[in-house]
Amino acid sequence: MQFTVENRPDFAEVQGVGRLNMVSAPKLREVIAGVVAGGRTHVVVNLGGTDFMDSSGLGALIGCLKLARQAGGDLRIANVQPQVRMVLELTNMNRVLTPYDSAEAAFSPRGDSRD
């Protein structure tokens, strides 16, 4: 899984295409740790290209969320695909990692655009 980082005015957008699993999860942690260490503490993970996530993938998102919050920011997810949504709902983690429609909506001042 390859990750790209784009710096938007209000947040950093991290995008990965492929399966977020035991193999790619450590890489996501590494990429986001780098982003946060670089001072971008508001992070959106765009999951539009992530059609599968296992428990290690979810663990990486949780770890990155903690990291961003410790640094005074936050991590949000956007463009969530059906299987990933299922994992979030099953584990009740959708209450903490709420899916947003798009990366732009995730940190929009109108916080009501959660889907």
């Binding site: 428990s55 290690s56 663990g59 949780i62 994992v87 099953l90 584990t91 903490v96």
Partner: protein, 366 residues
């Protein structure tokens, strides 16, 4: 367990009875302890549960093909694999695919040729074999220990039947189940630690131990809260989490009190079909200062509690599709053991990469 050190184990995977018998004979004559299987999935199960130094693998099996079996066993086994095919011209193609087999042999083969190939394989040291050999032994031992931590299948609670099955994706895994007698009836746990393999197994054992230690606390919310807080620290350190379903049964009334920490796959089986039980909160280790409020479920005579792990979902597109298949498997089953077997069978295709677990507790009709 010192006797185990010098015993070489072989698993023969071949669907033709005559050829399998012949292979068993030849390989046993080479000093191996031999197990045999007629299907790919049965073969994988044997290699996983008993370990293997040598695997002979027929290319054409009734369920999975030999290439797929080889790919999957490479996820957890370092055994020498000798692939046997009916067509000599297949060998070139297979060698090119790099499926992880060590040698190829075409049928018909002479016993002498097979014996010579095996001898040659074992003369050829595995790359880094000196380092790997103790690792493989350790893996085998770890799998044995993890299995020994599963509960006794013969625990009796009057008026109830209970069964559980667990199949790790590798030699050990993060799924586990547990049950034990309590004064009122029974304590039951099904949990799934993040990830797979040895790391997940260490966490699973920790969760089992901590939850057992709170069995004496009569208030379930309090007991689970204490266990959850204790585990949170450990799990946070390792950047991990565990989904847990934990229930206590009052045998006389059939009342189950339970906590579902992000597990989400506990079901009430009744005459009306399958109903998924509501979850009580996030997985343990995921969110600091979580509180889980226990829920209650009354098991009427003939009702059952069924808890599966998310490995069951790997073969299906949606949770609903998986639950409907689970429902069909349960209706067709003859006993709680049979129901668990059938559920594991649902999750045995090549797309299943996760540990799979099923536990069923049924109240008798009486």
């Amino acid at each position: 367990m010192s006797e185990a050190e010098n015993v070489r184990r072989a698993v023969i995977v071949e669907d033709n009875d005559d050829i399998r018998r012949l292979l068993v004979q030849i390989v046993a004559a080479q000093g191996f302890t031999v197990d045999e299987a007629a299907t790919g999935s049965a073969g994988l199960e044997l290699i996983r549960s008993r370990g293997a130094d040598l695997v002979t693998l027929d290319l054409n099996l009734p369920d999975l093909d030999g290439v797929e079996v080889c790919r999957r066993l490479r996820e957890f086994s370092d055994a020498y694999v000798l692939m046997i095919t009916a067509r000599a011209d297949e060998i070139d193609r297979l060698s090119g695919l790099d499926v992880g087999a060590d040698d190829y042999l075409s049928k018909p083969f002479s016993p002498r040729e097979l014996a010579a190939r095996i001898t040659a394989l074992f003369r050829r040291p595995r790359s880094a074999s000196a380092a790997d050999a103790p690792g493989a032994e350790e893996q085998r031992r770890a799998a044995e220990v993890q299995r020994s931590l599963l509960p006794q299948q013969d625990l009796r609670v009057d008026g109830y039947e209970i069964a559980g099955r667990c199949r790790p994706a590798r030699s050990v895994g993060g799924d586990f189940f547990d049950w034990y007698a309590t004064r009122e009836g029974l304590g039951v746990t099904v949990a799934d630690a993040m990830g797979k393999g040895m790391g997940a197994a260490l966490l699973a054992a920790t969760v089992r131990g901590v939850l057992r230690s709170t069995a004496g606390q009569s208030d379930l919310d309090l007991a689970f809260g204490v266990a959850g807080a204790m585990l949170h620290t450990d799990l946070e350190q390792s950047g991990s989490f565990v989904t847990v379903f934990h229930a206590r049964l009052d045998a006389a009334s059939g009342l189950l009190s339970y906590v579902d920490a992000g597990h989400g796959l506990a079901l009430h089986v009744s005459g009306a079909g399958l109903t998924r039980l509501p979850s009580s909160g996030p997985p343990v280790g995921a969110v600091a200062d979580s509180l889980w409020a226990s829920e209650r479920l009354a098991l009427a005579p003939g009702d059952a509690l069924l808890v599966v792990s998310d490995g069951v979902l790997d073969s299906f597109d949606t949770v609903d599709a998986a639950m409907s298949a689970v429902g069909t498997a349960v209706s067709a089953s003859l006993s709680v053991e049979d129901a668990c077997d059938r559920i594991l069978e649902l999750a045995s295709g090549p797309e299943v990469t996760d540990d799979v677990t099923a536990v069923m507790l049924r109240r008798g009709d009486g």
